[in-house]
């Protein structure tokens, strides 16, 4: 899936927070300072002071000289990190993957989240306006990579949302500082006259590496998306995996069985404690000769039932070739869902329902051998066209939304494709008198119809069908139709099904 990131930049994080804590500071020029090597340095300013030319890193004495009625407040060490973490926790409502971007930002992995807020524009606007209304001066940007989003949030001037794959265009006009580089590299770039990213983007990689080191190339690659950038998430997602190293390489089926059982027991214990169940599981065996063998299973309902899962793997053991031996087994569950607690039936009817656990286990077993795509169940659909009157159910829990129609009889066998027949019939709308199918002549005794079924004009174009239920003189019942109206030119007749 296409990745999307949002970078949030809190421009006056500490001062905004202090203004919120102490409302009397509102409209008062103040700075936050910290002692660095025998002198006191400005670490944060509010908007009023900034407008008068005080910048971060300036000695506090100079700031006091510029702004006469300046309020100076001492910094609490570690306050910024604490604040960023708290804001990150608050942002979990927008995306589960939030990473702190110290000292003054957040990065959100928002892949697949934006549509829930009505598109990327509305999503970003919602986040930024909510934070601004809380009292934080924040800028946000969205892009395919965390690097580009970071750059646009801090240096972008045109638009905050960079479309998929547009990173290069967006970055070209920005200054090199947008690449999150070390001050020493920035200084060197400045000295050599590289004022925008465009000016050095075209230079060969080996030249850049020699002059500025590997870091510059890494940052460019991260911004463009050629290099993966790991994020330090506030709530890391712990994957559902288990490892089982073997003392000696394993070669026999029995040993593999034991390994699978051990892995499943460990994984299922964790799943059970969290109330989760797996839908898919992949077993990997790392062989002595360096090759990896694997087997995958899937279930139709989330489960942490070791016995059942083992039975599914049991069918796959024969496909695992141990070669010279397997050193390490891993079992991972990439798809995990919440398990619905099963209720013991106080009074169980004689029969059994679709959600019966033994039935779902049977279906899992069948699906793992012949493929889940070959198991179907159908629900009624409110459409008249015979081929479309049913739709496949997506899961065992699906219930029909409408009742099955009983008004008109439907054939018990339906041909996948209607087959052409030759007929003799009276004009214009009488049922046929006889028809020839596969060289056999059927004389028609009884008939019912026509039942006209129109095509769905919004879905496909074509002629309607006039269906007749007919019975020949031997009592065999068929479903025939004529395509379209009767015209002088030959009308096409088809056999579509057999009635019971």
């Amino acid at each position: 899936m296409n990745k999307r990131f949002i970078s949030l930049w809190f421009r006056h994080l500490l001062t905004d927070w202090l203004t919120l804590r102490r409302p009397e500071l509102k409209g008062v020029p103040f700075i936050i300072t910290t002692p660095v090597q025998n002198r006191v340095v400005v670490t944060a300013t509010n908007l009023l002071v900034e407008a008068q030319g005080v910048t971060v890193g300036m000695p506090a004495a100079d700031a006091k000289a510029i702004v006469p009625d300046l309020v100076v407040i001492d910094e609490i060490p570690g306050q910024a990190a604490k604040l960023i973490k708290a804001l990150g926790e608050w942002c979990i409502r927008y995306s589960p993957l939030v990473a702190a971007d110290l000292p003054d930002g957040l990065i959100l992995d928002v892949s697949g989240c934006a549509h829930l807020w009505g598109g990327e524009r509305a999503y970003l606007k919602e986040i930024v306006t909510r934070l601004i209304s809380k009292g934080y001066d924040v800028r946000g940007a969205m892009a395919d990579t965390a690097g580009t989003a970071w750059a646009i949030a801090r240096f972008g001037k045109i638009k905050p949302i960079i479309g998929p794959g547009m990173q290069t265009d967006a970055l070209l006009t920005l200054p090199p500082a947008a690449l999150r580089l070390e001050p020493a590299i920035l200084e060197r770039l400045q000295k050599l006259g590289f004022y925008t990213i465009k000016s050095f983007m075209g230079i060969g990689r080996s030249v850049l590496r020699r002059r500025f080191g590997q870091e510059l190339l890494l940052r460019i690659d991260q911004a463009l998306g050629n290099e993966n950038e790991p994020l330090q998430l506030l709530h890391p997602v712990e994957p559902y995996t288990e490892r089982l190293p073997c003392l000696e390489p394993i070669r026999t089926a029995t040993a593999i069985e034991i390994a699978i059982k051990t892995l499943l027991e460990n994984l299922c214990r964790r799943l059970q404690s969290e109330g989760m169940g797996m839908r898919t599981a992949i077993l990997k065996g790392y062989r002595v000769d360096g090759r990896i063998i694997q087997a995958a299973i899937g279930t139709s309902k989330a489960t942490h039932h070791t016995g059942h899962l083992f039975k599914l793997f049991e069918l796959k053991i024969a496909t695992l070739a141990p070669g010279l031996g397997i050193e390490l087994f891993t079992l991972e569950a990439p798809k995990v869902e919440e398990v619905e607690p099963e209720q013991e039936a106080l009074w169980s009817p004689e029969g059994c329902s679709l959600e019966d656990s033994s039935l779902t286990e049977l279906l899992d077993k069948l699906a793992n051998k012949i493929g889940a795509g070959n198991i179907h169940r159908y629900l009624p659909q409110e459409r008249y066209w015979p081929e479309q009157s049913i739709k496949p159910a997506l899961s065992v829990k699906d219930k029909p939304a409408t009742t099955w129609r009983t008004g008109r009889p439907r054939p018990s066998l339906l041909l996948n494709r209607p087959e052409k027949i030759e007929v003799t019939f009276r004009l214009p709308d009488y049922p046929p008198m006889l028809f020839i199918y596969k060289g056999e002549v059927h004389h028609i005794n009884k008939a019912d119809g026509p039942e006209r079924i129109e095509r769905e004009w919004w879905a496909d174009q074509g002629l309607h069908r006039d269906y007749y239920m007919i019975e020949d003189n031997e009592g065999r019942r068929y479903w025939l139709f004529r395509l379209g109206h009767y015209t002088d030119v030959e009308s096409a007749w088809y056999l579509h099904g057999y009635f019971a």
Binding site: P349, E350, G351, C352, S353, L354, D356, S357, S358, L359, E361, L362, L363, K365, L366, K369, I370, N374, I375, H376, R377, Y378, L379, P380, P386, S389, I390, A393, D398, K399, P400, W404, R405, T406, P409, R410, P411, S412, L413, L414, L415, N416, N445, K446, A447, D448, M469, I470, E471, N473, E474, G475, R476, R477, G497, Y498, F499, A500
Partner: protein, 244 residues
């Protein structure tokens, strides 16, 4: 003396039936499957559930009629909201038709397999599972050994199985409890009414283990099987001969 011997023979027959798994109907539980007089053909006069029935359908018209009759039987088997499996290699069954025979089509799970071998495997697995009401498989050929595997699966789980022999080439011996053949019959209408009447079938029990084979005419009227009155059937066959 003579009377005595007959008693002994009938008692022994009952014992043999019991050993073979046909238990006599328990008082108060005898409800039948709705097939009417046809059920008398089976041992103890009870339609054997928990066993495998073989249905011959050499032509698609017969397959359609068989599907109808079987759906009528399934309606009783699936009364408690159970599910059934329908295994086939080339499926033609149209699910909405089942509602005519009181079977909820969404309770039927269709399993499409590539090979007959897989169909047999799937049927065996299905028959072993106590959570299904019935398993139906469309299988062209089956050997005695294969049918014995199915029988063994059924004996412990008491699931009813149906083998639909579409276009069978060779009819060997199988362990199936009965061999059926269902053919469509001309429907009967009240005089002067246009259209097509209720589905009517000629049901032949070609072979019944410990029972009496025979042939019946059934009609599906208002959600139940109705045996066609014998005189009427005779008149009808008379008519057929005249017209045919």
């Amino acid at each position: 003396m003579h009377q005595n011997r007959n008693d002994i023979i009938s008692r022994l027959q009952k014992d043999i039936l019991l050993w073979q798994g046909f238990s006599p109907p328990v008082a108060g539980k005898a409800k039948g499957i709705g097939l009417g007089p046809l059920e008398a053909a089976f041992p103890n006069g009870v339609f054997p559930t928990g066993s495998i029935h073989e249905m011959l359908c050499p032509a698609p018209e017969q397959a359609a009629a068989t599907a109808g009759l079987m759906a009528g039987i399934l309606a009783t088997l699936m009364q408690q909201g159970g599910a059934c499996l329908w295994i086939s290699t080339s499926r033609k069954l149209f699910p909405p038709a089942l509602i005519t025979f009181n079977v909820q089509p969404h309770q039927v799970i269709f399993i499409d397999v590539q090979q007959e071998k897989d169909a047999l495997w799937a049927m065996e697995e299905g028959l072993k599972c106590e959570g299904v009401a019935a398993v139906i498989a469309e299988i062209r050929e089956i050997s005695f050994a294969q049918s014995r595997r199915l029988q063994l699966a059924v004996e412990s789980s008491k699931v009813t199985g149906f083998l639909l022999r579409n276009d069978p080439r060779k009819l060997g011996t199988t362990t199936c409890v009965a061999r059926w053949q269902v053919s469509p019959l001309p429907s009967q209408l009240e005089d002067g009414l246009p259209g097509v009447g209720f589905p009517r079938w000629q049901v032949d029990l070609l072979r019944v283990r410990n029972g009496t084979p025979g042939s019946w005419q059934l009609e599906w009227i208002d959600d139940s099987f109705v045996p066609v009155a014998q005189e009427e059937a005779e008149i009808m066959s008379e008519n057929n001969r005249m017209t045919g």
